[in-house]
Symmetry: C2
Subunit: 100 residues, 2 copies
């Protein structure tokens, strides 16, 4: 695979996590129609009330990059920005496994 | 969803990553037959030659726990142990998205 994977940790301002989760679930709906997007999962950890992790797998890095320019995505990014205090990302090479 | 998610970071001893990746890909093959396992993806990051991330999603936490006791899994864990210097885990609640 020359696939592209990403873990993104969003840390929100206090009490803004639920609002961000709603926006990210909306983004996931948009992704249903995006062919290069294989996985886009929204997760919350137990031990941190202000963070959300998004797990992504794409056909390749350019498919991911192109998605950021889609009109729907740009609107959601603008809506999400005021909620977010910090973004950390881990770029990954998915090598194989179950479910991809 | 009451699903259970897990990011696991394995840090190997020097030059042992490829050997661990082989074992984890073998584990992923075993998971094909495990019904409660939805995702089991092996990934390497670009910026750290000794680490491997595994992305897992399970029907629930008990399905994950039960899988650790399977004979195939126990054998692979024993084989992997000498290669591994450190394990870090992030437990997640998958809320939804594309591909799960």
């Amino acid at each position: 695979m020359s696939r592209f994977g990403l873990y993104t940790k969003f840390t929100t301002h206090d009490s803004q996590r639920n609002a961000l989760v709603e926006i990210l679930l909306e983004a996931a709906c948009e992704m249903e129609a995006v062919e290069g997007c294989i996985l886009y999962i929204i997760n919350t950890p137990d031990n941190d009330p202000n963070s959300v992790w998004v797990t992504e797998v794409w056909n390749d890095a350019s498919a991911h990059q192109a998605s950021l320019a889609l009109e729907g995505a740009r609107e959601l990014i603008q809506k999400a920005k005021p909620l977010i205090a910090r973004i950390e990302q881990i770029k990954l090479n998915p090598l194989g496994g179950k479910g991809v």
